[in-house]
Amino acid sequence: MNLTLSLLALIALAPSALPARSSGGLLALRVDRAETIANGTMEHAVILIEDGKIVMIGEDLPIDRGIPVIDLPAGWIVLPGLVNCYSRAGMDGKGPSDSKPELLASSVLYPASEAYPEVIEAGITTLGQYPPGNGIPGQAVAVRPQGDTPESMIVADNVYLKVILRATKASKKRISAGFKKLDEYLEKEKKNREKWDAAQEKKKKKKKSSKKKKDDDDDDKKDDDDKKDEDEDKKDDDEKDSPDVYEPIELKPEVKAFKDLRDGSLDALVSISKSADYLHFLDALGEEEIGWSLRIPLTREIDIFLVADKIGEDGRRVVVEPTLSLHPGTMRARNIAAELSRAGAKLVLVPRSDSLKSHKAWLRHTGEIVAAGLDRETALRAMTLEPAELMGVEDRIGSLEEGKDANLLIVNGDPFEPGTSIEGVMLEGEFVFGEVNQ
């Protein structure tokens, strides 16, 4: 009798005793509040996860029996895993001081770096990693901070081209020279194509009326100059050499990068240090229409607020740290992030530095500038969906929506309050930090 009861109890309790690791299986999370980013704050949220993706999310969703449920304690909040789109955590090495747009950060990933678990501890589930160096150091890669091989880490490659623009002739020339080389290549390619087309045409014509032509040649040869003979001979040679399949001119990788910029398949992230750099960048860009965002490291007395309106008018994305600056020459604080956002720019936030300390304090620092006037929703978005959009991975990352990766950050209070700490981090459906599942 007792044994039966025990067995029954076991069976009854079994579902909740099952480990909440859904390797393939379903998992449901119930939480007081979820910041979905895409659809605002959701109370009493229920998130259904399967195979590493969010399959359903809604308020007070009923959960089928058999699905393991984790009820998060009262007051806890779930956010999407944070996205740091501008980092060199886990990477070392120096780079060129030149234009090397073909270099890829993905080629120097070191998965075993201890930086990655640390980054996860800080709640970051996606990193945008850029190559080192000055000038145009190359293209960035979006990675998950976990994996055995570089390939297994890559979420998307070629997510943006890093460009450092300063008010110097050399710096501006890198951009204009890059496009000039592209134009030269396109010209060459066009001429090459035209030449091949002409040769193919000649071939066809020759085959059709080869005999007739030969008779004409015999007659003409008696009358024409030697020069004409030479031309005819030369054409014969061309026809012989012209391959049947068109062989394009080699597209060098550095030229390809600029081609991708022009085509729109690659965007640039341009790092500037002051308002003057912004004007000089627009001057260097000239008539070219490319997709670009701005990276503005916020220094103590930066004057970028002088062109905030222009940046906002465009609706540009700006990547900044959560820090307060000073109005130049004074001790008056300026919340540049808030000012840019209010002017219409799309705000993307990154930690104050690549150190572990800054990563762990990222939420707290953002909380400081929220308290100083930055809109809360904008701040949340700036750490999640906006950087995902900058890197073009918003289809799978950056918000709590159906179909997206189950990258979650679980905190035990308002993420922007100093006392709040991280309770758990889920990466593609698996808990990679914290003791939530115990």
């Binding site: 020459g329 004074t330 001790m331 008056r332």
Partner: protein, 402 residues
């Protein structure tokens, strides 16, 4: 016969002082505009000054000149007293010999032996209308010694050049001594201790009536026989200085410099009753950190310091550009007339030599400067400089020198 001789003798006019008739002697000067800079702020347009025996015997509207007086007429000129600069280092003729750092404090040192009368720099000062200078040692140590009050005469013996020797004490309390390396007094704590300790030693020696060669002059400072000029800067430095030399010790002290953000503590300095001798910096942008070009001179005046004067700390600023300190202070917010007083009567009063210099008043030394216009306007040039009744510079005779 005797009666006749006596009568003749009585008729003979009193003997004149043995001076060169062309540059000295009794003279009456008529000018277009006279700024007396006395307490009543008299201005006479036109004006007249009489000089007798090297002293001013009349100041006012033009009158009939007495017989025997040479008459000089400058109908287009402005007359002001000679300028008084309390913080100068041109007495040696250059930068040499200014700092003698024998010990951490050197109250026994005196500037007198290093004085080079009529050196080229002094001459330049004279031709620009600066007639009284307090030549002091530098700020290498906390008490660098005793300076000399002298006039910028050309070719006159030491006795007639020097007003007072020692003229006063020089203390450096902040911002320069701490830059020197040494085993003591590297920080303000150490320096403060040294100064206090030394002062108390002097006071103790006074109480005990004990003779101590190195402290004898310092005792005179505490007896208020000699003034003391303290080099100090920063908002913390000025408060420290005012407290030590006005509250802790009762002295005839004058705060010198007060640069950087010293103006921010101006009210505290004013409340402690400390006169301020400001310069060479008379504005502050970087240290105030309010984004403004703060006219620190006007701030000190606005805060109500009991006596505000300017200096050059020559040769940080060339001595002949002393007037420009007033022009610039006026530019950045102060009242120009007040700044002219800050070049003349205020420093004289601060150092207790206003019985002799600083304004055009009867009985004072005939230190008179004639200019072609506003004394604060760089465009106006000097026409005549008279010191103790002697014409030291005459543009017509000497050419335009500055």
């Amino acid at each position: 016969m005797l009666a006749l001789t006596l009568a003749l003798l009585l008729c003979v006019p009193p003997a004149r002082a043995l001076t060169d008739e062309s540059t000295g002697g009794d003279v009456s000067i008529e000018v277009g505009k006279l700024l007396a800079l006395d307490d009543q702020n008299h201005v006479f347009q036109p004006g007249m000054i009489w000089v007798e025996d090297g002293k001013i015997s009349y100041v006012g509207a033009p009158r009939a000149t007495p017989e025997g007086m040479r008459r000089l007429s400058y109908p287009d000129a402005w007359a002001t007293p000679g300028l008084v600069d309390l913080h100068t280092h041109i007495h040696t003729g250059g930068w040499g010999d200014i700092n003698d750092m024998v010990l951490a404090v050197n109250p026994g040192l005196r500037v007198a032996p290093t004085l080079r009368p009529a050196n080229a720099l002094m001459r330049r000062a004279c031709v620009s209308g600066v007639t009284t200078l307090f030549g002091i040692p530098g700020s290498g140590t906390n008490i660098s010694g005793f300076g000399v009050l002298y006039k910028t005469k050309d070719d006159a013996p030491y006795e007639r050049t020097v007003l007072a020797e020692p003229g006063g004490m020089k203390v450096a309390q902040d911002s320069n001594p701490q830059r020197r390396s040494g085993d003591l007094g590297l920080t303000r704590a150490g320096m403060g201790w040294i100064l206090e300790y030394t002062n108390r030693r002097a006071l103790r020696a006074m109480e005990q009536n004990r003779f101590d060669l190195s402290l004898e002059q310092l005792k005179r400072v505490h007896k208020k026989e000699l003034p003391v000029l303290i080099h100090t800067a920063g908002s913390d430095g000025v408060v420290n200085t005012a407290r030590m030399w006005r509250v802790t010790f009762d002295t005839r002290s004058v705060l010198s410099h007060g640069s950087f953000d010293g103006w921010k503590a101006a009210r505290a300095v004013a409340e402690m009753g400390m006169p301020v001798n400001h310069g060479p910096r008379t504005t502050d942008y970087p240290w105030g950190r309010n984004g403004r070009m703060n006219g620190s001179a006007s701030e000190f005046v606005a805060a109500g310091v009991p006596n505000f004067s300017l200096n050059t700390d020559s040769g940080v600023i060339p001595q002949e550009e002393f007037f420009l300190q007033a022009s610039m202070s006026a530019r950045y917010g102060a009242n120009p007339y007040e700044m002219l007083r800050a070049l003349t009567i205020h420093p004289a009063k601060a150092f207790g030599i206003d019985d002799r210099v600083g304004s055009l008043e009867i009985g004072k030394d005939a230190d008179i400067v004639l200019r072609s216009g506003d004394p604060l306007d760089p465009r106006a040039s000097i026409k005549l400089v008279m010191i103790d009744g002697q014409i030291e510079y005459d543009r017509e005779r000497d050419g335009l020198l500055f």
